[in-house]
Symmetry: D3
Subunit: 253 residues, 6 copies
């Protein structure tokens, strides 16, 4: 199979290796120690980082902190209304899976002993969904996490002097093959048509934290995998820059 | 007890009979048939109206429609993080109670036979809470409902010619007595100090749909009740004007 | 609208401002520290007050007690059998709402520091429902509460000397407008026809603890509200006398 | 081991083969098609039989009816308050087990084809517990069932002419060995001390429907088993007479 | 009714008083402190005994241990697939009932003070069901329990010197009347046809721990009950020998 | 980082690119249309395939079939007992995630239109866990699926003549980096030490269905990823041969 990535026009006019317009708004909430409204095109995720002193029981006395995440979608974030998981009384498999992925991705860049016995919970609530909600969630949650860590340092809850709590940054992006063409950052309409779909979580320094590739309609071979990974790494580097810009700006702006 | 409402300065500088800054942003979501981000000061509620053809089983064949509502708070909408109801696996009493109140309040201004066998679900998700979330939810949900009804008419799902689906508008506001002084539209810090707390749902034509008064710290007498009702009716009239202005403007603006 | 309350004959022959036959039987259970079978006509609610030393965790060390309530209906208390909430695995919104109302109403007349670090749980189980179950529950639960408090004093668990635990009594009654006529204490057949329905919780000294008015079929205006409140206050005064008579009698009689 | 049943005085003065005072009050509820308040001493169970046309899906078209039961205890039926199963969100093993036993016991005397495609649900709610709640429930539920069957016949829902729906009656009683002495109909204080505890469900014609014997503190041998069965059969015969008397009397008396 | 047990040929060629081929494989699992794969014909139950230091909270400080059991069926252990209880989110009544029976049966032969403050949990998971799963579970669980007790002694967690933890052994078997003939150890096809069905739990010394007889299609009389008990006691004695043989052999063989 | 795979001795004596002893026993259950006990070393998973005519509601009338999977662990499959998900009343995130993975992996090799409107449910129950339970589950489930498909064809439920239902085979294996060395098929003790952990699902023809790599302790780079993929592809090819051998043998052997 020959893979060409040039000269393809996507429905929204993007090049195949181009992100959707990404917007990262820090300080969107007044109460949370860190908060970000992150937008990947029409996908909009509100990421709130809650700093809490103390750790879960199983971790007490270890001198180490904990970071966890909960992902959820509002019922009408999607094209047709989904039922509310709290009303159904249980969380679906997909929700569980993404919550775990977000938590794992963030923990990979946290030095738990530098965090000390403090916990940070990341709530990633999808206000509007148009593909890539989990990658937007990870990308935005990292920024909210950074603000919550800074808050903990400013307020004296984190006392590791000199030793950074965050060992790297983390961003995530989706890639997929649509009609034989590898593409970056799929909106919903591309996502449902993708033969292969991959979510890649990458550190600021370009290493992998998570690679999740799934053959949706047809198994994929090694060369396709390689092309997708290349696309993802480049896209993640763009996201890393956007995170840096956001963190360099004024909080709340 | 003597009740005076003048010459009192509130923490945020408002007069006792003055609403917080209210903002109603229509079309905040791309998918929903009606959507509003409503803000009462720092309280921020996202109201999404989903139009669905058909009605619940118990209402089929009646020729009448149905309107229902679900209210919920994001875990970090509040000052300290609350646990997520979907994770706990059940909905708390307060959530249930407010969902029922919002649904009842909206149904009171809907002509169900004019709606025909269609359903509209209002999802009111509190993104940030600072008192008055249920009154903001009702006030915003009415506007989202009006947009969803208009959508249903534009798309030919509602066919009642001439007969209006909405018989009136509806808005809600909180009032309470703090340190002996009746006040309108309580933020969280006033709400927790109120001796008496009342939520009043009023139609655009000034009639009551719901009056819920609760003695939080001390029973209240008839004259206090009267004063609170006066305040609430006047505040609701202000909200009615703001709803009218919002609906007169451009959708999405 | 003109409201007349005279010369109307109700289906059960009562005057519009007359309560149904009310019966309060104390000591209906052998184990509970306080127990009452309260009957408002055919509505029959069993109220059991359980006295427990200690308070919930969040209140420990405060020196203050706690009072809470759980309301429920037996499946065949109603005209057609309802499903059992324990079998469904969750409590409905209405059940939650009434449990909260009963608890709030009772707490309003309890001096928590005089109660000391003790808890009283009121279980209000509707054995038969014919309208007004929540108002009967509150009215009966107060008497059961009074007996449980007396039990706690007799057994030395409440040690506030001289300082009364109950600062007042509390009773509740429903009122509503049926075919334009305000009426007191609605049985089921009137309740379903009411345009406006109100539950009012009143102290023995005639002050309001809770006012919950709902427009079921048509919004109501201020003069209707005033008439309903007058009716409710008078009806509650009758209930207060019946509570006093019951408490003055022999326990178990 | 020698078993003697004479010359033993029980705490409540009964002979070892004597039932507690049993009271069966028919028509205790106004709505239910059959209802009984049954009392075995201080144990008080409200049995409501709900007649419903139609059968569960899996039985449709069979021409046969269905009878089922739900048993539950009110939280304060017991000496110390238990938590409410609807609040816990699940039914305990004991509740499940007894519900199944009651349903099975009643079905054993019902000719399902004579009942036709109708359902009868027996709700057995323990208002006060003092041992033997399951046996009281079965004994009372049979009477409520008989009334509901008669109701179905009077109202033309059961059309099996001549063919009786109830092929026999059913009653249940507990027996146990306390300090080496077999005893009939154990109240709570004897029940907890019993070495062996047995619940026996017997038809009016003296045959067994269910025999459930459990060694609580010590395994039992064949001669003990035989003595217990003799006691139970005699006690059940007494209950059968009481059921007949109740059914021969006025409904509601 | 005349009961003859001779000259009947069962579908699988057994005599009416003959067990199915029984196989007890110890040490089937590598991790569990005791484990048995027990087979009664095609019925196959995996019994795992988990030894844990400490006891549930309500038993702490008593100096006594605790033994409990959980029974469950794999979804496809049966002829047609059943739904998974973990997916449904609740445990059915039958599962609860059998779990309680298994626990009760094992506790009857354990000297809790000799066990000391240790807990043993028996997981009995039915891998394949062909009738008699609860009796196989009890029979196998006893052997796994014995191995777990021995493990606790070898590892010094049980220190009762000389005093045996197990006061007796325990086995269980089903009996029933099919077409008027009492039979031992019913496979599924006999079980569904049985008029009367009985599960009997017997100690190694021949005493009863539990007798549960149920009239499935017709009430049974005393002579039938006696015949069934005789059959069960003899069958249980055979099982006791098989348990002894298994425990006398090599672990893991 | 230099990766060397030679000259390393693993705790169990295997080469770094060597599978544990794999055993695939077909026909382990008597009822299921396909069943396999699959063993990867001490990891033991029972895979049961249930063939059911008909499809879920959302797929009816499509002419296409459906394949789904449920994965679960027995409480004592692990080193220390875990709590039973049915008792907790909800399924954990990990269970959900793996169930979804198994289902997706199998669907990738099924031609749903050739299957016709039939459903196959794969139950993968872990009897004993020692790392790699999800990869063993997928590998075994494929063989059970193949047997269930053959059953459906033999019994005339699958009628696609000539057109194969299974378009390829599927196997899965774990790989990871331990102390800098990439290794194949990790048992538990290696799994917990792995810096990077990857599960790879590969078709018989060597293409990828799923690639899930996770940095457990340190992010990984592209060359590590490449080495791991090489190892996994080779290991999966070995598993494919073992599946073919099993399917070529006698059923039940």
């Amino acid at each position: 199979m020959t893979i060409s990535t040039s000269d393809i026009t996507r429905a929204d006019g993007r090049a195949t290796d181009q992100l959707r317009p990404v917007r990262i708004t820090r300080g969107w909430l007044d109460h949370a120690e860190g908060s970000v409204l992150v937008e990947f095109g029409r996908t909009r995720v509100l990421c709130a980082a809650s700093f809490e002193e103390g750790v879960p029981r199983w971790r007490r006395g270890s001198g180490e902190g904990w970071v966890t995440a909960e992902y959820a979608m509002l019922p009408r974030s999607t094209n047709t209304r989904g039922s509310r998981e709290s009303v159904k009384g249980k969380i679906g498999g997909r929700t569980h899976e993404i919550s775990r992925l977000v938590g794992r991705s963030l923990r990979a860049v946290v030095d738990m002993s530098a965090l000390g016995e403090n916990s940070i919970v990341l709530d990633c609530d999808v206000l509007q969904a148009d593909g890539g909600t989990r990658t937007a969630a990870i990308t935005g949650a990292y920024v909210a996490l950074a603000d919550a860590v800074a808050w903990g340092q400013r307020h004296g809850h984190i006392t590791s002097r000199g030793k950074p709590v965050l060992t790297d940054s983390v961003a995530a992006v989706s890639v997929g093959i649509i009609d034989g063409t590898p593409m970056l950052d799929l909106p919903y309409e591309e996502d449902v048509r993708a033969e292969t779909d991959m979510n890649v979580v990458v550190t600021g320094s370009g290493k992998f934290i998570e690679v999740q590739g799934t053959a949706e309609h047809a198994p994929f071979d090694r060369s396709e995998l390689d092309t997708l990974l290349d696309l993802a790494v480049a896209g993640a580097a763009d996201l890393t820059r956007l995170q840096q810009d956001a963190l360099a700006g004024e909080l709340g702006g």
